[in-house]
Symmetry: C2
Subunit: 504 residues, 2 copies
């Protein structure tokens, strides 16, 4: 889930200096409009210490008109507060309609830390997450616009950041024993964070995960999300564009594009993959056979123990899904293994919920099922081709997470593969197919059409991994420019997952 | 919550014979239309054994065209089913678009029984309830119309019904040891049921509680809810009215009113109150003083122990709220007690969520706060006067339940009073006020206007009690035609609640 927030995204200083004043003017403009609006804006900040929560809130106060902003942070409960139900203090501090409330700590802080420090059990933590969802639902139903930012830093990045703060006499006070104690609990913290975000990211109160390493990047990121969300809601509600700041507005309209472009130019999950690894042709066959033997042995143990496995493959056209799948099935007894190719749905399937056909094909205990393309079509091809509406594919992330939760909870080993190749490599393979008579049938006009939409698919894949790669059901990204390397990586990771399940 | 389903509602046989054929024709008509619709209808039946779940499903199959109905019941899981996640069998059996699925048992059955038999802990039960909500949300988001009927019988009514079934040689087979075992667990069952209904009754998948004692009543009740919900959804989706059954349609339109009238003529929670109890004038003063002394003593213990109390009063105009409240405050030290009169909201209050102003007034530990009118205004005056939209007051039941949960969970003693008088008694009091100079100010034009809306308010009160009277926060209905009786009942129940809290 946090892969996309550990890529070292940065905005060049010179660019930031040009873009920040534009964003600032636009934020002021939407804030002015908001004053007449019939709804409040509630902005929650949470995340890793040192990822810039406080700085961001300070900056927003500096950029916007602080008279219409309420900034709140909550420490340990006072006597007054302890004598009332937990949410009393949050209710008191909610912004009125037309105002923005920035919550530097919130209803998330205590429950997450209580969980990290194991002061509450998993079940009680779930209950508290439910209460958060109910609270936000109540406010959103009443019209509140709720935005939540999870500021993230990788484990090492956080360490570096704390060290840097400690070194500077001016910021040393900000790093106490408490911060280092948290850092040592980093893994637990991230696990609790993942559970929290998955459980509480709803259509009416979504989380945005922000990489917190570079101040300029995170400020532009938070600022644009805030600007766009408020502006969209104002437009939906028909709040007129005020004449308060026409200059900024006009300037803004012309310059909006550059900020989006600058953010898009930062690394993504896919663009950060190292595509160079290769396996020498000579060694490849032997290595594949080794892993196949291992897989065969593992599956012969898993079958009688009733451990089912589901592998699913997504990837670019010509990325080598078929070849990788054949290397897996070749290692297995055909009776214990099934490949489900997913094409356009049948009439019967179309007359049900899109997940229905995947539920149908769940394997019996002890079997291995391979989905050649999968339920992720909803957020890939259906999204890009407009076969699903934005509302449909957006809510699919939660639906898919819930579906996979049920698989994993039932004890099924679930491994998800994205076979990745570069655009150049795809072109090379397409051309090779054209020239090889017995492969020509594999290449269709549709493949060429899909290729033109590469950037759209790339965005969809990045978001898919960000939203659905979880501790219980992680994505494995397979660097596929070298086919042998890809096949070995697939076989090896399937074996590792199965082995881990057998060891449990 | 089940008060309204233990009133002995009945439809006279002669009336039923006239109305049933009309309803049947109308159900057939909506079913015909539904066949072209882009959504399925999912109907869940649950409830007390013997309350007519099976009979109702059989009847619907007989009344409608069974080719387009899927009826399903689920027993203990088969081998096949146990080898897949729990919801696999439910997904498999979902109706296709245009069809109706009747689920005689469902995803509710096993979790509720597991809880009743204490095979799962409270926390695990909550998790399973969440899964139900997510499942139904997923289906509803995809367009499914979901209706859920909870068929209810009071404890004694269930016993009678089981005895009757046992006596008849033709139905004896239906009552096994299992049914009697369930009956002995009745209280636990009802507690689990209440939790289930509160947690899973959502806007897109609401529960309807049906009194199951009289077959004719329950059939008309289920049939009309089904008919109206499908018809409304068809109209919303623009599915044309078919020419398949114009006769039934025309006949239906003319006769719809009588069925609604017959159902409305059955007893309600308010109409079932025995309004005759009186306390002789002579004894009243002494009895009130006794309870006041008791209350004073209890509050002097509750204060130092930090136990807070909230009393809220709702009731008809001139029902005696003020008098009852004064009898409570007279018993208490003014420093430990506060009355919050709720009138139209201030500007500041209006610029927040409607619950905000009630959160503000929550008492500190050890105090007693009286709300003279309350958050229930949302589902009473705001509903009846159109100050809240239907969507707003409908979702308020859940919001209020969640709010009160937080109060009770925090240890606050919450007592809710509806002061009830008959319409005749109100008229008598209004007239008396008109004629008493020092009371004339109390009577306004608004009181007369409200009086004209008596039936609308009555419906709102009945629904309020049905939806928000829970084990943790029950309503106390106070028979108020005799003022002394009412005051004593209020004082006595406050004392009982406080005493119970002190004993914990």
């Amino acid at each position: 889930m946090f892969e996309a927030a550990e890529l070292g995204r940065k905005i060049p200083k010179s660019q930031y200096k040009k873009l920040a004043p534009v964003l600032r003017a636009e934020l002021l403009e939407v804030q002015q409009r908001l004053r007449d609006a019939p709804f409040p804006v509630i902005v929650v900040f949470a995340g890793v210490d040192g990822a810039g929560k406080g700085e961001t809130v300070n900056l927003l106060n500096a950029w916007m008109d602080p008279r219409w902003i309420v900034t709140r942070a909550f420490g340990p409960s006072s006597d007054e507060e302890q004598e009332r139900p937990e949410y009393w203090r949050f209710w008191r501090e909610l912004p009125a309609r037309g105002r923005i409330g920035l919550f530097l700590s919130s209803w998330y802080s205590e429950p997450v830390l209580d969980r990290v420090h194991r002061r509450v059990k998993a079940a009680r933590f779930e209950e508290r997450l439910n209460r958060m969802v109910d609270f936000e639902q109540t406010l959103a139903d009443d019209g509140a616009l709720i935005l939540k930012f999870w500021m993230h830093l990788g484990r090492q990045a956080q360490r570096k950041r704390l060290k840097a703060l400690e070194k500077d006499p001016l910021t040393r006070w900000r790093v106490t024993k408490r911060e280092w104690k948290h850092w040592r609990l980093y893994d637990r913290f991230v696990a609790a964070a993942e559970q929290t975000i998955r459980h509480t990211s709803r259509g009416n109160a979504p989380w945005t995960i922000v990489e917190g390493g570079d101040p300029d990047y995170r400020e532009l990121q938070v600022g644009t999300v805030l600007r766009d969300a408020i502006r969209q809601r104002l437009d939906e509600r028909g709040v007129p564009v005020g004449a308060t700041n026409p200059a900024a507005s006009a300037k803004g309209a012309g310059r909006r594009q550059p900020i989006a472009a600058a953010l898009a130019a930062t690394p993504s999950i896919l663009s950060s993959l190292d595509m160079s690894p290769q396996v020498p042709k000579k060694k490849a066959g032997r290595l594949i056979e080794m892993q196949q033997g291992r897989l065969n042995g593992l599956q012969r143990k898993a079958g009688p123990r009733g451990i089912s496995t589901i592998l699913l493959f997504e990837g670019w056209d010509a990325a080598g899904k078929g070849g990788a799948i054949r290397r897996v099935t070749a290692a297995l007894d055909a009776r214990s293994c099934q490949v489900i190719p997913i094409a356009a749905p049948t009439d019967e399937e179309r007359s049900h919920h899109y997940l229905w056909r995947f539920w149908r094909h769940l394997p019996r205990a002890g079997r291995l099922t391979i989905f050649d393309r999968s339920w992720y079509g909803r957020v890939l091809v259906e999204r890009v081709e407009g076969l699903a509406s934005e509302a449909e594919w957006r809510r699919a992330y939660a639906e898919i997470n819930q579906f996979e939760d049920q698989l994993v909870e039932h004890g099924i080993v679930l491994a998800k593969y994205w076979l990745h190749i570069t655009s150049d490599e795809q072109l090379r393979r397409f051309k090779a197919r054209e020239q090889t008579p017995h492969k020509r049938w594999k290449l269709t006009d549709e493949d060429w059409r899909n290729r033109e939409k590469w950037p759209l698919y790339e965005r969809a894949v990045n978001e898919m991994v960000e939203r659905t790669s979880t501790r219980t059901a992680p994505w494995t990204l397979v660097e596929g420019n070298d086919k042998s390397y890809a096949r070995i990586k697939v076989l090896e990771t399937v074996c590792d997952r199965l082995e881990a399940a057998l060891d449990e």
